[in-house]
C-alpha cells in the first residue's frame, strides 16, 4: 500500500516525553489512544461474555419444549438485554477499540485528534452500560419488549424504563463523541503523503461508519425521548387517541436501526479487507471499488429502513419502494465479496488463525446476505417476519461476521500490541470449534423459522423440538469455545509462546500498513514526528 522512510519513530522531544501514569489511575485519566483502545477492547470482551451468558440462558430454556428454568418475563428480558449488551456493549465498542488503537498508527498520527474527549467517550460508555445492567435488579425486571423498544409494549416496563432510556442517551453521547473524534483524526491528522485514496480500507470504513453514527445516534435519542415523554409527561406521539401513531416509532427506530446494523458491519469489512491481502500475499483487489462500495452501502442504509416493517400495514407503494431499494444493497455488497475472493485468487495463501476467521467470514457473511435478500422480497417476508428465520439471518451477519472479524483482528494485531506471539495451535482449535459450532447453532434456526417458529418465545410447539435441541447444543459448544479466546488473549499478554515477534510480525506485512513499520510492541507514543509516506500504487 505505501512504503515508509522514517527514522523518527522513537524520537521524543521534550514536549512529548510523558510515559504512562503509574498504577490503576493510568487507566482512569489516560488520554493515550493505545490505552483507551485497550480499555475499549477489554470492555467489549467482558460484555461479550456477559451478553453470551444471557444467550446461554436463552438456549438452555429453549433446549426442550415446555418451561424449564426461567419465567417468560425474564426470558424476554434476556433476549432484550442480550441484544442491547451485544450491540452497544460488545460489537460497537470492540470496533471503536480497534479504531483507537489502529487508526492513528495506520495514518501516521501521534494520537487521536481530541484525546480528552476520547477518554470521556469511553467512560460514558461504561456509565451507559452500567445504567442498563442495573435494570436487571429493578422492580418489574429489565426491559423485556425487545431491543427495538417498540411502544406501546415497552411502556409497560416497570421501574427499568427511564433507566433504559437514559442508558440509550449515554450510549448515544459516547458513540457520537467517539465518531466525531475519528472523523477529525482521519481528516486532520494524516501524515504528509497519506492521501485519502491511500488510506488503508479499515480507515475508510471507519470514516464512513463514523458519519453514520453521528447521523443516526441522535435519531435514536429522539425516539426514546418521545417514549419517555409519552410515559411520564402526557404526550401522545405514539398514541392514536391523541393523533399519534405507534408505527411512527418503528419508522424512527429503523431510520436509526438500519444504518446501525451497517455501523456494525462496515468496520468488519474494513478489517477483512486488511487481513485477507496479507495472507494471500497480494494487494487488495479493487481498492477504489471497495471504497465506493462502502460509501454506496452507507448511502443506501438511509433509504431502506421500512423493510423491517413490511407487515405493519404500509401503503403498497411504500412496500414496493422499500423492497426494490433494499435489493440494491446486494450490488455493492456483491462487489465486496467478489473483491475479497479475487484478492485470494491465485494468491500464495497461508492459513494462520486471522486468515481462517476472515475466510469463514466471507463465506458465512454471504449466507447471511443471501437470507437478507430473501427477506427483502416483501411478499416472502410476510411469511418470515418475526420468525426464527430472521434470527438466523441477522446472527449470521453478526456472529460469524462481525464477531469472527473481531476475533480475527485480535489474532492479527495481538502480536503487534503485545510483542508476543499467540499460541497458533490453540488459536486454530478455537477457530475450528467456533466455525463448526456456530453453524450448528444458527443454521437449524433457518429451518425453524421457515416451519413457523416465532422469535422471542420461551416455549414452543413440540414439532420444533429437534432443531431447537441441536441449535442449543451448538450454542453451548460455541459459548464454551470462546473461553479459549479469553485464555489466548491473557496468555499472549503474559508472553505467549515466548517467541519474540518482529516489527512486521506477518511476512511482508510492511507493504500493507504503517503499523507494521513500528516496533512490536509500539512505544507509548508513536509518530510524534509524522512519517514520510512514499506513495506506491495500488494494483
Amino acid at each position: 500500500m505505501s512504503a515508509v522512510i522514517s527514522e523518527h519513530d522513537e524520537h521524543h522531544d521534550e514536549h512529548h516525553d510523558h510515559g504512562p501514569e503509574k498504577g490503576l489511575l493510568r487507566w482512569v485519566i489516560t488520554t493515550n489512544h493505545k490505552d483507551i483502545g485497550t480499555l475499549y477492547l477489554f470492555f467489549a470482551l467482558a460484555m461479550f461474555f456477559v451478553g453470551g451468558a444471557m444467550a446461554m440462558v436463552i438456549r438452555a430454556e429453549l433446549f426442550e419444549p415446555g418451561m424449564q428454568f426461567v419465567q417468560p418475563q425474564f426470558f424476554n428480558s434476556m433476549t432484550t438485554m442480550h441484544a442491547l449488551v451485544m450491540v452497544f456493549g460488545a460489537v460497537m465498542p470492540g470496533f471503536v477499540g480497534l479504531a483507537n488503537w489502529m487508526i492513528p498508527m495506520m495514518i501516521g498520527a501521534p494520537d487521536m485528534a481530541l484525546p480528552r474527549m476520547n477518554n470521556m467517550s469511553f467512560w460514558v460508555l461504561v456509565a451507559g452500560v452500567l445504567l442498563l445492567a442495573s435494570t436487571l435488579f429493578m422492580e418489574g425486571g429489565a426491559p423485556a419488549g425487545g431491543w427495538t423498544l417498540y411502544p406501546p409494549l415497552v411502556l409497560q416496563t416497570g421501574n427499568a424504563l427511564p433507566f433504559a432510556i437514559f442508558s440509550v442517551h449515554l450510549l448515544g453521547i459516547s458513540s457520537i463523541m467517539g465518531a466525531i473524534n475519528i472523523i477529525a483524526t482521519i481528516f486532520n491528522m494524516r501524515a504528509p503523503g497519506m492521501t485519502l485514496m491511500k488510506m488503508p480500507l479499515f480507515v475508510w470504513t471507519w470514516l464512513i461508519t463514523a458519519f453514520l453514527l453521528i447521523a443516526v445516534m441522535p435519531v435514536f435519542a429522539g425516539a426514546v425521548t418521545m417514549l419517555l415523554t409519552d410515559k411520564f409527561f402526557g404526550t401522545s406521539f405514539f398514541d392514536a387517541a391523541g393523533g399519534g401513531d405507534p408505527v411512527l416509532y418503528q419508522h424512527i427506530f429503523w431510520f436509526f436501526g438500519h444504518p446501525e446494523v451497517y455501523i456494525m458491519i462496515l468496520p468488519t469489512f474494513g478489517v477483512a479487507s486488511t487481513i485477507i491481502p496479507v495472507f494471500a500475499r497480494k494487494p487488495l483487489f479493487g481498492y477504489s471499488s471497495m471504497v465506493y462500495a462502502t460509501a454506496a452501502i452507507a448511502f443506501l442504509s438511509f433509504i431502506v429502513w421500512a423493510h423491517h416493517m413490511f407487515t405493519v400495514g404500509m401503503p403498497v407503494a411504500g412496500e414496493l419502494y422499500f423492497m426494490y431499494a433494499t435489493m440494491l444493497i446486494a450490488i455493492p455488497t456483491g462487489v465486496k465479496v467478489f473483491n475479497w475472493t479475487a484478492t485470494m485468487w491465485k494468491g500464495a495463501m497461508t492459513f494462520e488463525t486471522p486468515m481462517l476467521f476472515s475466510i469463514a467470514f466471507v463465506v458465512l457473511f454471504t449466507i447471511g446476505g443471501f437470507t437478507g435478500l430473501m427477506m427483502s422480497i416483501a411478499p416472502s417476508d410476510f411469511q418470515y417476519h418475526d420468525t426464527y428465520f430472521i434470527v438466523a439471518h441477522f446472527h449470521y451477519t453478526l456472529v460469524p461476521a462481525s464477531v469472527f472479524i473481531l476475533m480475527a483482528a485480535g489474532y492479527y494485531w495481538l502480536p503487534k500490541w503485545t510483542g508476543h506471539m499467540y499460541n497458533e495451535k490453540i488459536g486454530q482449535l478455537h477457530f475450528w470449534l467456533s466455525v463448526i459450532s456456530v453453524n450448528i447453532l444458527f443454521f437449524p434456526q433457518h429451518f425453524l423459522g421457515l416451519a413457523g417458529m416465532p422469535r422471542r418465545i420461551p416455549d414452543y410447539a413440540v414439532q420444533f423440538a429437534d432443531w431447537n435441541m441441536i441449535s442449543s447444543i451448538g450454542g453451548f459448544i460455541f459459548g464454551a469455545s470462546q473461553l479459549l479466546f479469553l485464555y489466548i488473549v491473557i496468555d499472549t499478554i503474559r508472553g505467549g509462546t515466548g517467541e519474540k515477534v518482529t516489527d512486521e510480525v506477518w511476512e511482508d506485512a510492511h507493504k500493507h500498513g504503517l503499523e507494521w513499520t513500528l516496533p512490536s510492541p509500539p512505544p507509548y507514543h508513536t509518530f510524534t514526528t509524522p512519517p514520510n509516506v512514499i506513495p506506491t500504487e495500488h494494483v
Binding site: 512529548h16 501514569e21 485519566i29 489516560t30 488520554t31 501521534p110 485528534a113 481530541l114 484525546p115 480528552r116 474527549m117 477518554n119 470521556m120 467512560w123 460514558v124 461504561v126 456509565a127 452500567l130 445504567l131 427511564p162 437514559f166 442517551h169 449515554l170 453521547i173 457520537i176 466525531i180 473524534n181 472523523i183 477529525a184 483524526t185 486532520n188 491528522m189 453521528i214 447521523a215 443516526v216 441522535p218 435519531v219 429522539g222 418521545m226 415523554t229 411520564f232 409527561f233 402526557g234 404526550t235 401522545s236 406521539f237 398514541d239 392514536a240 387517541a241 391523541g242 393523533g243 399519534g244 401513531d245 411512527l248 424512527i252 400495514g313 404500509m314 401503503p315 507514543h525 510524534t528
Partner: protein
C-alpha cells in the same frame, strides 16, 4: 503558526471522568425521580452540580491552554471539525421532531380520519373523527387525558413568535458584527456586539416563557394536548433549551473577551459559539414556518 511535529497532546485528563460521573448521576437521579423515588431529586442536584463544576473547570483549562499558545493551527482545525460534526448531530436530533410533525400531520392524522389505508381504522376505532390540523386527536386529549369535546386554541404566528423571529434574526446580525470587530481588532465593537447578542437571546427566552404561560393558563394548550401539543412543545421546548445554552456560551465568550482573550488568529471559542448560535437561529426559522405559520 507551527507545523504538526509539535502537535499538542494533553495528558492525564481528570475532567472527562468527572463529566461522566456528573452526567450519570444526573440521569440516574432523574430516572429515580420519575419512578417516584425520594433519592431522585438529591441525586439530580448532586449530579448537576458536579456537571456545572466540571464545565467551568474543563473550559477554564482549555481557555488557559489556548491563551498560553499551546494549540497550533492543526489543533484548531480538530476543534473546528469537532464543533461542526457536533452541530450536525444536533441537526439530526431536531430532524426527528420535524419528521414527527410531518408524519403525523400528513399521514397518521389523515389515516385516523379514514384517508388512504385508514378506512377500516376509522370505522373500527373512531367513526366520528374528522381529520384536521391542529388536532388533539380522536380522544380530544387535554393534559394527556381523553375528554368528550376538549377544545384548545392554536398558537398564532404573528404575535410573540413573530417578534421572536425578528429578535433571533437581529442577533445573527449582531454576532456577525462582533466577529468583524474581533477580526479588525476593534474590541469595543466586539464587546458591544456580543452583549447585544446575549441580550437578544435572553429576551427571546423571556418572550417564549410568556408565550408558554399563556398557552398553559388561557389556551388549553399543554404538552398533553394531543399530537399538536406534543409536537408544539417538544419542538419549541428543545429549541428554547438550545437558545439558553447558546446564550450561556456567548456569555462565557463575552466574559473571556472582557478578560482580553481572543485574537484575530486565535478565537476558536468565539467561532464555535457563533456557529452554534446560527444553527439555533436556522432551527427557529424552520419552527416558525412549519409549527407556527403552516
Amino acid at each position: 503558526m507551527s507545523s504538526s511535529d509539535t502537535y499538542y497532546i494533553p495528558h492525564k485528563a481528570t475532567w472527562p471522568v468527572m463529566a461522566t460521573f456528573g452526567l450519570a448521576t444526573l440521569l440516574a437521579g432523574f430516572a429515580n425521580y420519575l419512578n417516584g423515588s425520594s433519592i431522585g431529586s438529591p441525586m439530580m442536584i448532586i449530579g448537576f452540580t458536579i456537571f456545572i463544576i466540571m464545565l467551568a473547570g474543563w473550559f477554564t483549562l482549555q481557555a488557559t491552554e489556548s491563551e498560553t499558545g499551546l494549540y497550533n493551527k492543526q489543533v484548531g482545525i480538530s476543534f473546528r471539525m469537532g464543533m461542526m460534526w457536533f452541530i450536525f448531530s444536533e441537526i439530526m436530533f431536531f430532524a426527528v421532531f420535524f419528521g414527527t410533525l410531518w408524519y403525523t400531520r400528513n399521514l397518521s392524522v389523515p389515516w385516523l380520519g379514514g384517508e388512504g389505508i385508514g378506512a377500516a381504522t376509522k370505522e373500527l376505532l373512531w367513526p366520528n373523527f374528522e381529520a384536521h390540523w391542529p388536532t388533539n386527536g380522536p380522544g380530544h386529549l387535554l393534559d394527556g387525558k381523553p375528554t368528550e369535546h376538549g377544545e384548545f386554541e392554536k398558537m398564532s404566528a404573528w404575535g410573540l413568535p413573530f417578534l421572536n423571529t425578528l429578535l433571533l434574526l437581529s442577533s445573527g446580525v449582531t454576532v456577525t458584527w462582533a466577529h468583524h470587530g474581533l477580526l479588525e481588532k476593534n474590541r469595543a465593537q466586539l464587546i458591544k456586539g456580543l452583549a447585544a447578542t446575549v441580550a437578544l437571546g435572553f429576551l427571546f427566552v423571556i418572550f417564549q416563557a410568556i408565550e408558554y404561560h399563556e398557552a398553559y393558563s388561557e389556551m388549553g394548550l399543554t404538552l398533553g394536548t394531543g399530537i399538536y401539543g406534543s409536537t408544539f412543545f417538544m419542538l419549541t421546548g428543545f429549541h428554547g433549551f438550545h437558545v439558553c445554552v447558546g446564550a450561556i456560551i456567548l456569555s462565557v465568550v463575552l466574559f473571556r473577551t472582557t478578560k482580553g482573550h481572543f485574537s484575530p488568529e486565535n478565537h476558536f471559542a468565539f467561532e464555535a459559539a457563533a456557529w452554534y448560535w446560527h444553527f439555533v437561529d436556522v432551527v427557529w426559522l424552520g419552527l416558525f414556518i412549519f409549527v407556527y405559520i403552516l
